[in-house]
Each structure stands twice: as C-alpha cells, then as structure tokens.
Subunit: 142 residues, 2 copies
C-alpha cells in the first residue's frame, strides 16, 4: 500500500494513467524480492489469488504490453505456444527448465560474455539473448 504512490508516479511519469487495475498489476509484478518470470496466464492467476478483484484478461494483456513498451518488462524468447515475460529488464540470459517449464535467470557467474565478432551489414543489434534449455539428468527426453 505504501508503494502505491511510487507506482502512481512511475506510471504517470511514462504517460500511463494510474488506474486501479494498473496499480494492482504493479503490486503483483513489482512488489517482490526476486524477479518474476511469467506468462499472461500465470499473472492472471496470481492476480486473482493475491487480490480479491478480478481484472479482465484483455486488460492484463493490454497492461503487460504497455509495460513492455515502456521498458518495465522484457519479453523472453522461448519456443513455445505462449509468451514469457520478465520483471528483470537488465541485460541477462536464461535457463529454461524443460521439466517444469520454468525460466531461471542467468547471472554473470553462469555465463561468459557473448561477443559478436561480425554483424549483418546495414543492421544494428537490438538484443542478444542466450537461452540454455536444461532438463533432469535422469529423465529421457522425447
């Protein structure tokens, strides 16, 4: 609750109206210790668990995309039927646990810096993403 003013300011400063729904979503997304990796579905479930009120799915989609556009969220490339988002917007990479379908942050001690030696001519690099897919050692993959 004390964070509400902070979120209001954050939204207003980026030209987003601090509506009730957006503040609630801020609370769920940004009021945590660890970074949060989620799909829209995860988030919607989280909202209806933590908060009493329901927020329309369309609003969740709208808000997540608005937050992404403003740079408050990052979208992560995983080959999947759904999109994954990350509250950690710093430049970092990911493990993807194929057993649990969970994304896990890669910190610096996991991975050497990726160096691009040669780029496509005439293009600029927008992002470099490394995705390390892992699974249980004793589990057979299909």
């Amino acid at each position: 609750m004390t964070k509400n003013l902070e979120f209001t300011e954050k939204l207003r400063s980026s030209g987003l109206r601090p509506t009730k729904q957006r503040l609630k979503i801020c609370e769920v997304l940004f009021n945590r210790e660890k970074t949060f990796h989620f799909t829209i579905n995860d988030l919607a479930k989280n909202i209806s668990e933590k908060l009493k009120e329901k927020i329309s799915l369309a609003t969740v989609y709208n808000t997540v995309h608005a937050f992404k556009k403003k740079g408050y969220l990052k979208e992560i490339s995983i080959n999947s039927d759904k999109s994954y988002f990350d509250t950690n917007i710093t430049n970092h990479h990911h493990f993807f646990d194929e057993d649990t379908n969970q994304l896990i942050d890669c910190d610096d001690n996991h991975l050497d810096n990726v160096k691009i030696k040669k780029n496509i001519t005439g293009k600029k690099i927008n992002s470099i993403e490394v995705l390390i897919k892992v699974a249980s050692d004793n589990q057979n993959q299909n």
Copy 2:
C-alpha cells in the same frame, strides 16, 4: 527424383514409412543448396507452389514434428506467435531480422563460442541458443 531413393532410405532407417507425402516434403526441405528456415505456413505454401498436389496441413504438422523428433529438423526459439524450424541441425546460432522476420544462420566467424561456466545443479544442458535480433540502422523501433 534421383534423390527419392536416398530419402526413402533415410526415412526407413529411422522407422518412418516413406509415404508419398513425406517424400514430397523431404524434396522441398532437403533438396536445396542452402539451409532453409521456415514456419509451417512457409512450408505449406512452398509445397503447393513447387508441387502440384496439396498436402493436408495436419500432415505437414505431423511430418515436421516427426522429422524434428528424428533430428532432421531443429526448432528455433523466437518469441512469436508461430514456430520456426531449420534444416541446419548443426550446433549454430541465429540472427533474426526484425524488419523482414527472417532467420539468418550465424556461422563461426560471427560469434565467439558461448561458454557456460556454471549450470543449474541436477540438470543437464540440452541446448544453447543465441538469438541476435537486428533491424535496419535507420529505422525506429517501436
């Protein structure tokens, strides 16, 4: 046509029956100089252009997944509404041109080897994928 026997053998050796449809798809996928990056839709279009006959979409899906399972195709992680596949199954990475939505292979002279210094405990690494998103230098990104 001369390749047909080769494809028949390839399929048979991996326990896939060399049906008419699978051979046609092999022809479209593997009878080319360069590696082929495609979505199911690309492939279906390619089939109906190059060949006279139509192959049911369901069969295209089934076949692509069967080929992937047998290791003849790789699925590439791009955050998108559709899945991308690659006939180049060697260990390599990709550029993704956001202007044209095209995947481009990264060869060795583009990228230094990615080294994982520390893995998640109890898990084994199934794959490491680097995706470098690029776009026109003079184009503003939204």
